[in-house]
Every structure is written in C-alpha cells, then in structure tokens.
Assembly symmetry: C2
Homo-oligomer: 308 residues x 2
Amino acid sequence: MSILLVSTSRDPKQWAASLKEKNDALDIQIYPDVDRPEDVEFAISWKHPEGLYQEYPNLKVIASMGAGVNHILKDEQLPKYVKVTRIVDDQLTKDMSQFVLLQCLAVSRNLFKHLNDQSSKSWNTKPYQTPEKTSVGIMGFGVLGQAAGKVLKSNGFDVIGYANSSKTVDGIEVYGSDQQDEFLKNTQILVCLLPVTSETKGVLNLRLFEKLKQDAYLINVARGEHLVEEDLIRAIDQGALRGASLDVFQQEPLPESHPFWSHENIQITPHIASMTDPESVANQLLENYRRMKNGESLMNEVNVDKGY
Amino acid sequence: MSILLVSTSRDPKQWAASLKEKNDALDIQIYPDVDRPEDVEFAISWKHPEGLYQEYPNLKVIASMGAGVNHILKDEQLPKYVKVTRIVDDQLTKDMSQFVLLQCLAVSRNLFKHLNDQSSKSWNTKPYQTPEKTSVGIMGFGVLGQAAGKVLKSNGFDVIGYANSSKTVDGIEVYGSDQQDEFLKNTQILVCLLPVTSETKGVLNLRLFEKLKQDAYLINVARGEHLVEEDLIRAIDQGALRGASLDVFQQEPLPESHPFWSHENIQITPHIASMTDPESVANQLLENYRRMKNGESLMNEVNVDKGY
C-alpha cells in the first residue's frame, strides 16, 4: 500500500520529507516517478494533470494539499468512487485572515496610492479613512470568511457578511442570497472568500461591481474563476471600483502579457494569501490515511456534488 | 483677547472653522493676516516660521496641532515664559497603532517585495513569516508606543519595547536604556516612536542598525530627525537592513532630488501615519484656552526642558 504525491506547482519532495518525518515506514511514490500505480490507495494532490487518476485502479482517497479542492473536482475524468478531502488548518485560516486584514488596512490608509505617488516622486497627503468608517463585505462566510470577519472587526472595521442564508455570527450581520443587492449597497471593500462552484464562477462581474458603495475596492483571495477579468478593468475604468488586490487568477502564474500586471490600480500577489506548511498538516493527512485503511469516516471530506 | 492660528503646511482655515463651530464668539486671527498681535494670548501652531513668536508680547500658550512639539521647541527665539501643549487624542493614538500594524503585516507578508515583483512582471511565491515568528521592537514606549505594542501583540506579533527604564507593560517586556544591545539583538522589525530630544536625534544610525537581528526592517513613524539618512542607505546596501518604511523625513515634503524616492527597498508615505482631525481636537484646545484665561493648570503641557 502506498501514498502518491502529485504536484505540478509545489515541491512534492518537501511534502514527502514532512510525512516521512512522522512515519519513516511509509511507502511514498512521487509523480511522475511511479512504478507501482496499483499499490496507490491514497493520493496527496495539487493541480494534477487532467485524467491522471484513471491510471490508479485502487485509488480510494485524493487529499488536496490546500483548502481548495476545485483543482481536483474540475477533472471530468475523476474516478466516481474516489473520496476527496481538503485541508482545514488553523494556521491556514489565521494566515488568510491576516492577509485580508493587511489588504483592508492598506486600502483604508491609501498605502497603494502612496506607493504609486512614490514612483512619481509626489508628496500627496490624502486624508485617510478610519477602519470604523470603512465597511468591509465578506462574500462567502464559511470557516475562512468568519475568521477574517472576526479579525477585521476586532481591528475596528465595520464588517458584514454574505452567505446562502441570513444569520448573525459573532455579532456580524450576514446577508442571505436573497439580499445580495443590499449587501453590495453597504459594502465598500468587497472581500471574496467563496468556494468555487458552478454558481460562484464569474460572480465578480461588472453588474455586481456597479452595485457596490462609492469608492469601492475588490480583494479576491478565493479563486481566479470567481472573477470575470475583463469586467474588472472595465469597472475600474468606469469608476465603479477604485482598484483591486488580487491574489488569485484564471491562469497561474499570471501570463506575462496579462494587462493586470501593469494596471496602476491593481495590486498583484502570487497566490500567497495562505500557503500550506507541509509540516503543520502532515498529521492531518496521515490521520486520514489511517482512517481510510481502517474503513473509518474521513475528516474534512468534501461533498463532491456541492463542490465544498 | 484672541487666538492665533499658524500653520505653513496644514490648512489653518479648516482649524478656524472647527473652533468657530464650537464657539462662534471666538476672536481668531490667522497668520499671516494678523492686525492685532498684542491681543494674542493663545496660539495654535504647526511648523511656524522661526522667531515668529517674538512679535506677540502677550502670548502665554502655544498649542501644537499634533502630538509632536519639536517644531515649536526647536525655535531658539521662543519666548521663555510661554507654555507649550501637545495634542493627546485617542483617535490619533489609534490611527498610529493601525498604521504600524499595517506596516508590520506588510513586512511579514512580503507585500512590498510582491509589489516590486509586479513592476517587473515576476511571479515569485516567496514563503512568508507569520507574525508569531516576527519580533517587533518598539523604541519609545510612551502613550503611542504602548498602544502600538498592544495592537501588534493582539494580532500575534512577538513584541518587545525599549524605554528609559526596564519594566513590563501589558505583558510586553520593555528593555531599559542600559539594555539597548539586547533589545536590538532581539528585534527584527524596529519601530521608532521616540520623542525628539537632544539624545534621540540621529539615534537611528548605522551602528544601531548593525546590532539588529538578521533580515531586519526599519519603520520610522516618529520624526525625521531620528534618522541619519545616509546611514539608512548604507545599512541597506551592506545588508544590515532589508528595507525601511518611512513616514517622516529631515525635510518635508521630501525634496524631489532625494535618493529615498527611487530606492526600491524604501517605502515612502507623506507623514500620514496619524493626522489630527481638527474637529476631534477642538474641544481639547478650547478647554486649554479656558484654563489659560482662568489661570488654571493646562492639560497635556510639555516639559520644555525635557522636550516631551
């Protein structure tokens, strides 16, 4: 019985080392150097080549290396009987919240504007907006959205949320999907933390941006598929948005020819809002491996039909 | 009896309006349109021309428009009998703390590096350092330093302080002036929140930078006089510092010819870490005006000899 490690953009050897450190007896095969595909029952995976898992007749579980699973589920040749798990890691959640806080503070304190001014050697003392007067709307109010909301609120921001159904979480008002217009009308900084599903793909589009508060700003830390990229540039040009911070893109790495790179009101980070630390999640992966072998129910299993 | 408003870099009319709103009967003269200097007993001042106050024979109090008073005290022709007050404003303190938090998060999450990468269209996923693993050393542990320390600590940073004498404040270890080397050895991000005195001028120099932890970073939000500007560039070139965020400068606005503007590891903001809102401090100024008229002791009076 063996564990398969597949990753085209993260270093699988680092993952193998972290797992081996916990249990030196593990049999680990690293893609593409696989000589016994029939031994593999458990795969740890990040952005695998489409159709790959057809070649593993005894595969039972695919564990995502991160919180997202769309990179697994979007493969139309995924064997139907395979279970999929995601990482739920307190550190990952914390890192995401802190990154969102950083971005919201940067927006309210005009940091990006000041750095642009620096490049033209201009001294412009634009007055700032305090967090208390800055409304942040979080789309997607699951584990990550709630944690970010809590951190933003404790640092003074005026936070609201958006989810399938309306509720109040930790004193934060969450609008339901039937109140989207109202949610947007009250949002100045829009933070996207939605999962990728057929309904949320392309949800960040011009029509939506036009419903936001004046002087609105977008922070996308979820997935590139949420954003209609042409619409973002149009929205900024039309003044519906003042700018955007993007950590995720339709295509990653972002192609050199992409217009986002040189847009002065778009801030780019290379998908680093929260990065799984293999060391900190090795136990969680190995626990699911143990459960699979014993036929027990898995932790953090994804509902493959819902997509999260 | 009249109030004098003097400011060469902030709009005095806005200050006059905020004061008038509280008390329409006030007699306010705005420099340089002063026709009755002998009527002035109370001045509200920001960066006045040197020697100016010699022309006001009945002046009793100069109130700084901000938390700093060095712009008043450095005038060698300041009448000896005049009392000087500073602004102590919760909002000012909060704003400063949030700005320091923003800068520390930006450093730990490599934000400035990513924005530099953007300008060269490079996708570099450098792993970040969590706040828990980032030690922030705050030089100057008065009202502003303590508030910043508290906010940084509540957001996970590993915070220490530096003051005249060692103590523990809100669970933060504060090193005394006899432990400077130890303080620096344990500091990765150095935040300067010192007052300007003859002892603190030029304290941020190459010798000090060389004692910091590896991969150190400077955040100066106090005053330009603290920094030996040539030493900063030398320290970055030598690798003693990875970079700096500067909000204050020896000369403001920073002259166009200054090398800081185009240094890729120096981030410039135009003295906006915390800006006094005239509306929010009008009551405090008028209360001191009342106290002066009644011969009562003033709030937030500065010890002119100590300089803070």
